[in-house]
Structures are given as C-alpha cells and as structure tokens.
C-alpha cells in the first residue's frame, strides 16, 4: 500500500513564462481599445490619440505581475502544505484575538472622545473625523443587512436620502427641530424599508440586489424631478443646524446662543465640535444597540438566515420576517445618518445620493469584514482618508474600491476581519478548561 501522493508538481520556468506571456497577451488585447487608443475632443470633433507606450508598460506590468504572483502563491501553498503535514492538519488558533479586538475598540472609543480636545485648534481634523463617523454609521447600518443577514442591498443610499430629505423638509417647511425630527425621519426611512422589503424579501436573494439598485435610482430620479417637493436638482438649502438643548451656535443676537449661555466667546469651531459629538453619540448608541441585538434571538436568526435559509424554515422560523427586521433596521440607521448629514451640511441635493455612494458604503462593509463592527470603522477611516491624501488618490479611489472588492471576495469571502465571535458559549471563559 502506498501512501497517497499530494505533492503537486512545481511548474518549470518555461511553463511560468508561457503562462505569464498568455496573461500579457490578454492584457494587450484588453488594453488596445482602452489604453492604446482613445479619442480626444479637438475643435468640436473627435480625433484618435494613441498611447502605445502606456499599453506596452501595461502589458509588461501584467507579465511581471503574473510571474511574481504565481511564484509567490505557489511558494506559499507549498509551505502551507508542508506545515500542515508537519502539524497533523491541526489549525493553530490565535488565542486572545477577540480580546485584542475589544481592546482596539476601547482605545478607538477613548481616542474619538478625546479627538476634538487634542485637535481643538484644527477644524479640518474634526470635520474629517465627522465625515468618517457618518460613513461608520452608514456602514454599521448596511452591515446589519449585508454582513449579518446576508442580504445584498445595493440601494442603501436611498434610505440615507430619505432620512436627509425628511429632515430637510420637516425642518424647513414645518419648523421642526433636529431632535424631534430625528426619530420621525428615522421612522419614515424605516417605513420605506418596509414598503420595499416586504415584497422583495420573499424572492431569491440576488433579486433583492437588483430591486434595491432600482429603488436607489427611483429615489434619485424622483428627487431630481419632483421640484415642488424636493427643489429638484437645486436641492434644499438653509436647513437648520442642530441646537444644544435649544441654544443655537450663532454669533450673539436676539435668541440665546450657546456661546452666550456658557459665557464663552463665539467661535464657529464650537458648532463643528458639537456636530462631531452628536454623530459620535449616535454612532456609539448604534454600536451598543447592534451589538446587543446580535446576541438576542433576532440577531442569531439574522445570521442563521444568512447561513441557510431552508434550514431556518424547517426549524419554524418565519424567514421573511427575520429578513425584514434586518432590512428595516438597516434602513432606519441609514435614515439617521441622512438626518445628521442634512443637518451638518445645511444643504442637500440629489447629487449626494448617487449609486457611487451606495457602492462606497458597500465597499466599507465588504472591505471591513462582513459582520464586524470594528472592521467597518477601519474601512471607513481608510476610505475617507485615502482621497484626502492627494488628488491622485481621489481620482483612482473608485477604481481601487472595485478592484479591492473583487480581490477580497477571492481572497477572503468573509471580509478582512471575518473572525466570528460566538454569541454565547457553553464553556464561559472561551478557553477549553
């Protein structure tokens, strides 16, 4: 009896080169119409411009890239097989990984609480941090839908828009304040979630993706064209800012102001810091809420539906209701983010709610690790800060997102931070005592 042979033949150098040449050839074909050739506007009509050197560089890069990639992948696989054989196919568990995540989480909370104090003289930092937190909020909302319940929602921006316009209209037309409008706008978003989710969640999972995609477009088209309601492409202007228990952030005037009440000198920085803390509090509440939900029956049901819908039905679960609860919660959180966005900008228009925005939010969830709260924070940081680093990054941002989404799905379909923490344990301290 001979033992099974697992060794897979390492390709020869000639084979590697041949493989890389094939890739370079395909790259060349793909590149000819897009990189090699382009059309430019010259005096009102198009002329063809060529970029053969770019094309050559692209094909060469693909050749080298393929060689390196294949070689390192092969080496990696060989090493891993060798290691596995040595270790008797036992996987090494990283103890304390969850503790590390929770430590990072607490450090992040402490840091974000202190940030406006540390950077008190730097409005730009606080402002950017506020943007990051808006994306964190959006990411956490979508994470419930995509990461936990496994429903692909490509129109999350629609609920963001509903929240934003609901607040904008409630405040400018009816004079509602931020804090009263917030829950109402959130409920309106949730209602939209019910209306959209109730029919489409009974369908196969991938239909939901296209329905939500279509819905995102419907909302945008309606906002663009229903001028009497939304102001059309011009949007809604002079949306009131949130107040500190009724105290406005304004230069001293007739009404009591924040600065006046606390005997401070008026500074526009106060409002920026205040806005930052508002979104921070909203985010922290969301985090506590979602983390708690995950450990409740409803949260476990979300994950179970993601894992196997048919098994859920066989266990007596009303799958449509479970999905709907996740979808509506996601919509509501998106709405809350929208309210804050409208209040912070003071101006909104349909331009802010394009499909690109949905794609960015999805990228945050996917890159961060589906189901992971901390992953969303890290991904938001990266995605907001990258374009701030330079114009080049801003231009290539979406291209990079698209590429990253594909690569991460291939490399780790669960997302980067995909280690799942059980919601409850039999052996309490997590170790095998």
């Amino acid at each position: 009896m001979s033992a099974p042979v697992y060794a897979h033949e390492a390709p020869t150098a000639a084979e590697r080169v041949k493989d890389a040449l094939a890739v370079a050839f395909v790259a060349l074909l793909l590149g000819i119409p897009m990189i090699g050739l382009t059309t430019v506007d010259q005096g009102g009509s198009l002329v063809v411009a060529t970029r053969w050197s770019w094309l050559a560089a692209f094909a060469a890069a693909c050749f080298v890239g393929r060689l390196v990639l294949r070689f390192s992948l092969d080496t990696l696989t060989r090493r891993r097989t060798a290691r596995q054989r040595a270790a008797g196919a036992k996987t090494v568990k990283i103890a304390g990984a969850s503790r590390l995540v929770s430590t990072i989480g607490w450090v992040a909370v402490a840091f974000s609480l202190l940030l406006p104090i540390v950077f008190s003289d730097n409005r730009y930092v606080v402002d950017t941090a506020t943007t990051v937190l808006i994306y964190v909020m959006l990411g956490w909302g979508l994470n419930v839908v995509v990461g936990l319940a496994g429903l692909l929602d490509l129109g999350h921006v629609a609920f963001y828009a509903v929240g934003a316009y609901a607040y904008a209209l409630l405040s400018t037309q009816f004079g509602w304040g931020f804090w009263t409008a917030l829950p109402v706008a959130a409920l309106i978003s949730a209602a939209f979630g019910v209306v959209l989710g109730w029919p489409s969640l009974r369908l196969r999972g991938d239909y939901l993706a296209i329905v939500t995609l279509g819905f995102g477009e419907i909302i945008r088209v309606v906002l663009n064209n229903w001028t009497s309601l939304s102001g059309g492409p011009n949007g809604v202007t002079s949306i009131p800012r949130p107040t500190f228990f009724g105290l406005a952030f304004k230069p001293p005037g007739d009404t009591p102001t924040f600065a006046g009440f606390f005997g401070l000198d008026f500074s526009p920085g106060h409002r920026i810091v205040f806005l930052y803390y508002v979104i921070l509090v909203l985010c922290l509440l969301t985090n506590v809420f979602v983390t708690r939900l995950r450990k409740l029956p409803v949260g476990r049901a979300w994950e179970a539906v993601r894992e196997d819908e048919i098994a859920c039905k066989a266990l007596g679960m009303n799958v449509t209701n479970v999905k709907l609860s996740a979808f509506v919660l996601g919509a509501m959180l998106g709405g809350v983010a929208g309210v804050f966005f409208a209040a912070r900008q003071g101006f909104i228009s349909p331009e802010s709610f394009t499909f690109n925005e949905s794609a960015i939010i999805l990228a945050i969830v996917v890159l961060g690790g589906m189901g992971s709260q901390l992953g969303v924070v890290l991904a938001s940081l990266v995605l907001v800060l990258l374009p701030e680093l330079g114009r080049d990054f801003a231009e290539y941002r979406m291209l990079l997102f698209g590429t990253a989404m594909i690569l991460i799905m291939i490399w780790r379909p669960g997302g980067i931070l995909s280690k799942r923490e059980p919601t409850l344990r039999h052996v309490k301290d997590g170790g095998r005592a």
Partner: protein
C-alpha cells in the same frame, strides 16, 4: 394615432437593443445562477470601442458607411468578447463554489472597476460621433405629424433579427448549444460526461458580451453619443427585461426587451420623459412580486 405609431417604431428599436443585452444576463444566469452586474458595463465598453473605431476609420479616410459599420462591428465584437472572457476568468471563476453573496459582490466590484477604468482612460465627458445614418423613410403624415422610419432604426431591427436567428441556431442546433444547455441543467453531471464546463461557461460569457457589443455599436450609431455611465442604466433595464421575460428563457429576454422598450417609448411620449426610468423599475418590482418566473420562464422549484 400617428404619434402612437411613431412611438411603436421607436419603442421596438429601443427594445431590440435591450433584448440583445438581456440575453447576456439570461444566459449567464442560466448557466451559473448569478446576476452578472458587470454586463451593462461590458456593453458600455463596446460602445466606447465603437466610438474609437468609427473615429479611427474616419481619420483613415474610410468613407463607405457600410464598410465602416461592418469593420467596427467585427472589431467591437472581438474586443468585447475578450472583455467578457476576462471578467469571468478573473472575477467569477475563482469564486465558483463560494458563498452565495461573494460572486454578487465581486460582480459589483467589477462593474465599478469597468466604469471607472473607462472614465480614467477615455475621459468622463460625453463622446459624440458625427451622424452616419442620416435620413429615413417618411411613412405617412396625419394631423400634421409625420411618422418616420429612420435608416438607423431599420438597421437595428435587421441586425437584431439576423443575430437572433443565428443565435437561436447556435443554441438549439450546434454542439456548443447542447453543451451550454446541459450545463444549465446540471453542471456536475455535464462535467462527468467529459464536457469542459469551464470552457462552456467562458464561451457563454463571450457570446453574451458579443451580443452586448452589437447592441453597443447600434446604440452608438443610433444616438451618436456615449458616456461611461450608459452601462449602468441600460444594464438595469436589460436585467428588468430578462426578469420580465423569465430569467433563463432566451425568447423571453427578447420579448422582455421589446416590452420594456415599448413601455419606455410610450411613457415618455404620453406621460413624462423624466419618469421613464421610474416606470421601468416599478415594472421590475411588480413583476418580481406577482410573477417572479416572468412571462415565458418556468416556475422555479426550490431545491431542498
């Protein structure tokens, strides 16, 4: 009445284009059971290839319109099918047998990638080409409205009909068609019978892309303008057409395309052009609610 007939003509033309794109969705869905979100962008890529091709031929002094058209069609079909192949090979094949969500997200990533790649390499501005098929046949005039059948419309209908006949032959009569249909039914079994499933899937993507390429060239000729965003909207509409006709059904895709084209044309003429997209998407949602298997599709039995 005259307006209605004119919209009928316009709608059928538009519908033919949607139908061609929809076939790509339906075939891919049939064989690997996923929505290829990047398909609309493949169509957009082909439209850009067409713009470049026409401009290039014009600068080379090719003045014969039929020659230019045939050359561009061939080039666009060839290059676009390479794109179709590459998309499947890089973004979907490594994910076969992965979770349900993974290929969908990868497809979205691919769609974003293609859109932005074209925007970066070809520019974000709208690309116009000089009109080529000017003129048409005035059918009749009533109530001061002349019903006109443009040459470009005749072209689109003729090309679509020819393509559909060839394509039907390919699927029903050739050995590739049999392999393709076998893969749709049971991929594992097909592989056990010695058929190269990977190759069949690749070919399916290439054929879908080729049909989208023809649609791309036609649209470029018809409208004379192209931008990097056209794939997104056309993609959703073609997908709606595929769902309306019944996902997996090839005649259904064509029928769905025609219906969507007609609805769009009539909606724009009689109700409001601004909301024509809303009309399409609402139809998508309604169809999915009340007849998820579409007009010509077979009801799907949940596999337990």
């Amino acid at each position: 009445m005259a307006l209605a007939i004119q919209q009928l003509i316009n709608g059928l033309t538009l519908g033919a284009v949607y139908g061609l794109i929809a076939i790509g969705y339906t075939m891919v869905y049939g064989i690997i059971g996923m929505i290829n979100f990047a398909h609309g962008d493949i169509y957009m890529v082909s439209a850009f290839i067409a713009v470049t091709g026409f401009t290039l031929l014009a600068s080379l002094g090719v003045s014969s319109v039929p020659l230019a058209l045939v050359t561009v069609l061939v080039l666009s079909v060839l290059f676009t099918s390479v794109y179709g192949w590459a998309v499947e090979r890089t973004a979907y094949r490594p994910l076969r047998g992965s979770t349900r969500l993974a290929p969908l997200i990868s497809a979205i990533g691919m769609s974003i990638f293609l859109q932005n790649m074209v925007q970066l390499t070809q520019g974000a501005r709208v690309k116009p080409i000089p009109p080529m098929f000017v003129g048409g046949i005035d059918l009749f005039t009533s109530e001061g409205f002349t019903v006109r059948l443009a040459y470009s419309q005749i072209l689109i209908v003729i090309v679509t009909v020819a393509l559909m006949s060839g394509f039907t032959y390919l699927i029903t009569k050739t050995s590739f068609g049999r392999q393709q249909r076998a893969c749709e039914q049971d991929r594992t079994m097909t592989a056990l019978l010695g058929i190269n499933v990977d190759r069949t899937i690749s070919l399916t993507f290439m054929i879908g892309a080729a049909l989208a390429a023809v649609a791309g060239v036609m649209v470029t000729v018809y409208y004379g303008v192209v931008d990097f965003y056209i794939g997104f909207v056309a993609g959703i509409k073609a997908f709606t057409a595929a769902v309306l006709g019944g996902v997996g059904s090839l005649p259904g895709a064509m029928l769905g395309g025609l219906i969507i084209g007609l609805i769009e044309a009539f909606w724009s003429a009689y109700l409001s052009a601004e909301y024509k997209d809303v009309a399409t998407f609402s139809i998508l949602i309604l169809v999915l609610m009340f007849r998820p298997s579409g007009l010509l599709g077979r009801p799907e039995v949940e596999k337990v």
